[in-house]
Symmetry: C2
Subunit: 280 residues, 2 copies
């Protein structure tokens, strides 16, 4: 008889810019790590699959992928049938595929119940409690992602253009925003092709500015964060963890309303926790 | 001595979906017409130039383009240096290049002073008076185009998703909007890649609906139209002409505030008028 092997676990965090994998044993000891390119299974299925497998092989080293229990948090996993399409291509012994927002929430909360707001280029919120995980927001910049970096930049530019048109009062910040593009026409030409990440490059200045238009926008953004958390809070309020690039910006702004806690771990920790939850 | 020829005039209306040209003599008699594909000189310079020349040659027939005075209203003419780049390629005796919004305004107003709102897939406004033409709005869907068909569709879907997330009250119209896509995830997947023209396909139902969410959105859109007109009105109010697919929708809604008049002519008439204004 061969000796029974410890079960081994693989966690994969795959987002729009890159993919990370980690191999761990049953006690949480890290045995290997891997990285690869983007892993958005909705926008580029074949590329994402290749990167997921590359990061997994790098983390697994000598260990066969077929021996592993894998938890995968992937961008685009909630868009249509992308996750269903992926599953037959995964070589792992067992696997669970969820959104990268879900593994981020699991990582941020650890074993606790709570509410996670991930506010970076986009924005998405999740509550974890006895009923499982419920996610809201994360709808993309055209119709959502309120309070995100992309939303802040888009709103600031929209208001700067409205001020230039005489529709709302101008401020020094709004004037400077148009001037940095070289005028209204150039700002409009930029905005027409700008993506979320482009708009988000304007966010740090908005966050740091004491200009009345910037302060008003930050007030509105904070109200959006509070509204999303309020929509998720049960009658007995849960603690809130804010992650993402703008998490530390909004955390002190909502601390008067909710119990705010730091993140327990990363999205990769969440993916590993997901792998541990796979039943025998 | 050859007899002096009457000056001949060419009007060109070039937009994002097609290009039309008309040849006329000094008394306004139409001598020829031509059509070709899209003529947005900012998004596809070479293609636009080819289509402009094709429509022009078709309208000119036996007449050499080098003999004509041409007025061109072109999409993208305000974006950066596109119009400057185009001028050396135009074969006409003399020519003037402006935005298609400007020729639309000239056509809608004829010889009168007034304010034009062009509200279709996008939205743009202009005032024509003794000081010339002043244009506002028309900033594209990401940062502007308020009250346009694309804006109405985008806002309706955004609110439907917010209602689905419990952030605002739901209504039958908002629920039906999500249901028609097959649920929240499918609606989000559609919105991520939807263009202005796609969002605008939702506008007719919003306009026609008696649902409270749709009515509230139309109220806000009407307020946006009034705000743009207010920003352009001089102390002695000018008459207002609303054109574009949604012009007839908003015209009765603003009639209590302003003197609303029907359009005198089309954007092609405006382009021809522009050609007539070219000095000898």
């Amino acid at each position: 008889m061969t000796p029974a092997r410890l079960p081994l676990f693989l966690g994969i965090d795959g987002g729009g810019t890159g993919c990370r994998a980690v191999l761990a044993d049953g006690r949480g000891e890290i045995l290997g790590r891997g990285t690869a390119g983007p892993a958005n299974i909705a926008s580029d299925f074949e590329g994402a699959l290749g990167n997921i497998l590359q990061a997994a092989r790098e983390a697994a080293g000598e260990v066969s992928l077929t021996a592993l229990r894998a938890g995968l948090g992937l961008a685009g996993a909630n868009a249509g049938a992308a996750a269903d399409r992926l599953r037959p291509h995964l070589p792992f012994a067992r696997s669970t595929v969820v959104t990268d927002a879900e593994t981020a929430a699991l990582g941020a909360l650890g074993d606790s119940w709570g509410i996670v707001g991930a506010i970076g280029t986009g924005s998405v919120y999740a509550r974890r409690d006895g009923a499982g995980l419920r996610q809201i927001g994360g709808r993309g910049l055209a119709v959502g992602d309120e309070a995100s970096g992309a939303w802040l930049g888009k709103m600031a530019l929209s208001r700067a253009l409205r001020a230039a048109d005489g529709l709302i009062p101008g401020t020094p910040f709004l004037s400077a925003l148009i001037a940095r593009f070289g005028g209204v026409d150039a700002a409009v030409a930029w905005a027409v092709t700008a993506r979320g990440a482009d708009f988000a490059t304007l966010a740090p200045e908005i966050v740091a500015s004491r200009d009345p238009a910037a302060l008003a926008l930050m007030e509105e953004a904070t109200a959006e964060v509070n509204a999303a958390i309020t929509a998720l809070q049960p009658s007995q309020p849960l603690p809130v963890v804010l992650i993402g690039g703008l998490g530390p910006v909004f955390a002190p702004r909502i601390a008067a309303h909710w119990t705010v806690r730091p993140a327990v771990g990363s999205a990769l920790d969440g993916a590993l926790a997901l792998a541990h939850q796979i039943p025998d």
